[in-house]
Symmetry: none
Subunit: 184 residues, 4 copies
């Protein structure tokens, strides 16, 4: 007789669970914000509460997993020889259009060290491209990587609270505002 409770799918489900949790968190964070109940993430993933906590002992570690993929993609793009700063910013923009949860995440003042680490990874990859663009005379020579990170944060802020369909247009307008501040 099938039990009402979810089947224990065994250790084999581990990898699938982890992936499902990350996917669910991506959705939930994007939909209900970074402060959404973790139980909603577990439920969306079709996974027990305990499994969620086993894989991700706290909210931050879950969020980091969600963004890991995005940051990795950015790093990969930045590592490509021909990639310019604009290419990287374009990818960042796409990611922000998909989800602005990163902004929510760094919104909390007592920033977790791990969050700072992610932001630093982004800052690092921007730094290289920025220097490159500055050497090419395309970007204001006095612009710092911190300025660039701030600009990205401001961009994301312009997208939050807008429904997904409106975001691409909003991103264009936001860049129109910021662009001149960056260019040489």
């Amino acid at each position: 007789m099938p039990d009402v409770r979810r089947m224990n799918r065994g250790p084999g489900a581990a990898a699938g669970n982890r992936a499902a949790l990350i996917a669910a968190a991506r959705d939930v964070f994007a939909t209900a914000g970074y402060d959404a109940p973790l139980s909603m993430v577990a439920r969306t993933a079709g996974v027990g509460q305990g499994s969620l906590y086993r894989h991700f002992p706290d909210r931050v570690s879950l969020a980091l997993a969600v963004f890991e993929e995005g940051v990795t993609a950015l790093e990969a793009l930045a590592a490509e020889p021909g990639a310019t700063l604009d290419d990287v910013l374009a990818l960042i923009t796409e990611q922000a259009i998909a989800s602005t949860a990163f902004i929510d995440m760094v919104r909390v003042p007592p920033a977790d060290l791990r969050l700072i680490a992610v932001r630093d990874r982004v800052a690092d990859l921007l730094t290289d491209k920025l220097a490159e663009a500055q050497r090419a005379g395309r970007i204001r020579p006095d612009l710092t990587p911190e300025d660039l990170v701030m600009a990205v944060g401001m961009l994301a802020a312009a997208l939050v609270q807008r429904p997904a369909p409106a975001r691409r247009v909003a991103a264009a307008r936001a860049w129109a505002l910021l662009r001149k501040g960056l260019d040489a």
Copy 2:
């Protein structure tokens, strides 16, 4: 028989309570964020929970009251004959430095109609000054009031999560990024 509880100050306290609640909410929102417990607002105001709910049936109405004063000040400034767009933006910046709670407030996607109304009031007062500045050739002619509101939101986003002392500097950097996007 004397009551141990705080004296019921009676109906006459209504106006005072309302003012105290708004002041308390301003502090609490600025200090503990827009998501701070409402009980903290009541306690800070020295007012009963019930009175808080009588005056402000929900969090948004309390927040609106808090910002009312700021918006009113903006409208007053905008109404002054000599006031320029830059003057208005400067005041807005000061308000954002004092508290970025407005950002937190609009962070939630299901934007309350009343919030839209406040934003529209800000948009309205900016519209006039913007047109004026555009006539004077100081601002890009294609810049819309919506662009300006977006810029203000982006500015505020650049200030959130920074400690109060760092905000003035951050505001300067943020405007440095945005300025060129506005100017003619």
Copy 3:
């Protein structure tokens, strides 16, 4: 139409709730041990969870309230001119027969300061009576108040885990063991 939810009995229920919570806690601690779920206390008292936490913000403060009455009774007895050490010990024994939760309470190593304070109150009242009894030559002159407190703890330990009906007999046997260690 009466709601399924418990009626909000209003502020007037405060005193009654507090008393009911203490009574319930006395029962629950005696029955299910000091580690019993607080929800059980609230349920037994017929009181909402929130009310429990309002009256007693943590487990210790609830326990203190439970024992306050007993300690007060001890202090009152000790304050009576004719009361001897034996009288006080007899009352302590009666209290231990009724509930040994106090033992559980002080069992935890990171002893709360407030718990230490209660124990000290008991130690204080024992100290006086002990000195008196020692002057009368009825108690070993080298016995310290700490020894006495230890003896009381050992007595209680002898009663724990025995069902209530067997406790009076057990107390007698325990005192038979300890008595000679106290007497001069």
Copy 4:
């Protein structure tokens, strides 16, 4: 394909696992108390959760295994021709100083039958030595084995919640209180 998980050491590990679990439980119970999570025991033992449950289906059976060794040692000592009651009590005291978890274990009212069985074994070995000592006129003739068991429990109670270093001194004071109650 090599598994990331701990190598399944196979059936041959059974005996070793059992021993490791007992040793780990001894440590964990002594350190974190009898209520410590069983997962901590498994982890300390370097053994899977499932194996723990295979060897010891519940907390009590694990605890019993832990104390088995101690009881066996007591029985061995008691079986030695020259061993006196005092020798046995001294060994019990040493065991209590090392860990008072036994007290925690019997703290729960719904005493498990198996716990009663252990206690009875201790009572049995004390019975012989007690009779011996009573024949020698060293112990009160009316003292029963149950009294002795109670005294041991009271001793242990005097040690609980004291930090390890203070226990030897506390044991001495506790025996000073009890000694006269035992002696003839």
